[in-house]
Amino acid sequence: MQIALFTIFGLLAVAGALNLLLQRHPIHSALSLIVVMMSLAVLYWSLGAEFLAAAQVIVYSGAIMVLFVFVIMLLNAGEEERTRGSRVAAIAGFPGAAAIFCLLSFVFLSERRQLGFTRLGESVSTAFSNIAEVSHTLFTSLLLPFEVTSILILVAILGAVVLARKEL
């Protein structure tokens, strides 16, 4: 059953990614990306990261992608025109991308034995729930990065406000 879960949602993710690649209108690409993120949330849940699955749905799809959709509609982006791009992207880029893929999969597949198997639904370590586990580590040993990220968000807000003003 876990195989079926993985296969369905894996394929869904890949289909969404390909759709993002192939669609011409950015709004379609945005919606395909939402599909990818949703399926990834399910995969996170199957790997025992329930908190992250929820966060993925709420934060990533619900906030970040909505922001993208806002901007697309604000700027009234139309379909892409075909303009002459750079040849480097075609000549160097695709081999690069392909190489990255091949390398990574080669490594992963060759280490298949050592990686082991997943255990569906099993929590990460103890009997506590996943969220208790995450928050415990976050607020004790990783407290400093946590506070720094709050500052990061503050800076980002300020920067976004400044950049997007009408008169610069």
Binding site: Q2, G10, A13, A17, L18, L20, S29, A30, L33, L43, Y44, L47, G48, A49, F51, L52, A55, Y60, A63, I64, L67, F68, V71, I72, L74, A77, E80, E81, T83, G85, S86, A89, F94, A97, I100, L104, S105, L109, R112, L115, F117, T118, V124, S125, N130, V134, T137, L138, L142, L152, I153, V155, A156, I157, G159, A160, V161, L163, A164, L168
Partner: protein
């Protein structure tokens, strides 16, 4: 009982599609979205390894990645809006004033 390697290969596929989209697409917002796709692929890798090693720090790292992605998306879109105001286009090939 899915081998973890499959999750990793799936992440690799998503990552490569992200790179390809980054190279092909001409609309700057779409390029940005492909960056988000790459980030998601990386997140999947982290979660898979967190599951493998029975560590929770992998998941926490994903948490931080999400936060950073949010901030980055906000700023990036603000830049795109500013760029649009100046150049009146979202085509990345036409943002080439630094040529030569």
């Amino acid at each position: 009982m899915v081998p973890i390697a499959y999750y990793l290969v799936l992440a690799a596929i998503l990552f490569s599609i992200g790179v390809a989209a980054f190279l092909i697409k001409r609309n700057i917002i779409t390029i940005f979205m492909s960056i988000e796709l790459m980030l998601n692929a990386v997140n999947l890798t982290f979660v898979a390894f967190a599951h493998m090693w029975h560590q929770v720090s992998g998941q926490i790292f994903v948490f931080f990645v999400m936060v950073v992605a949010a901030a980055e998306a906000a700023i990036g879109l603000a830049i795109i809006i500013a760029l649009f105001r100046v150049r009146q286009t979202l085509n990345v090939d036409q943002v080439n004033l630094l040529k030569n």
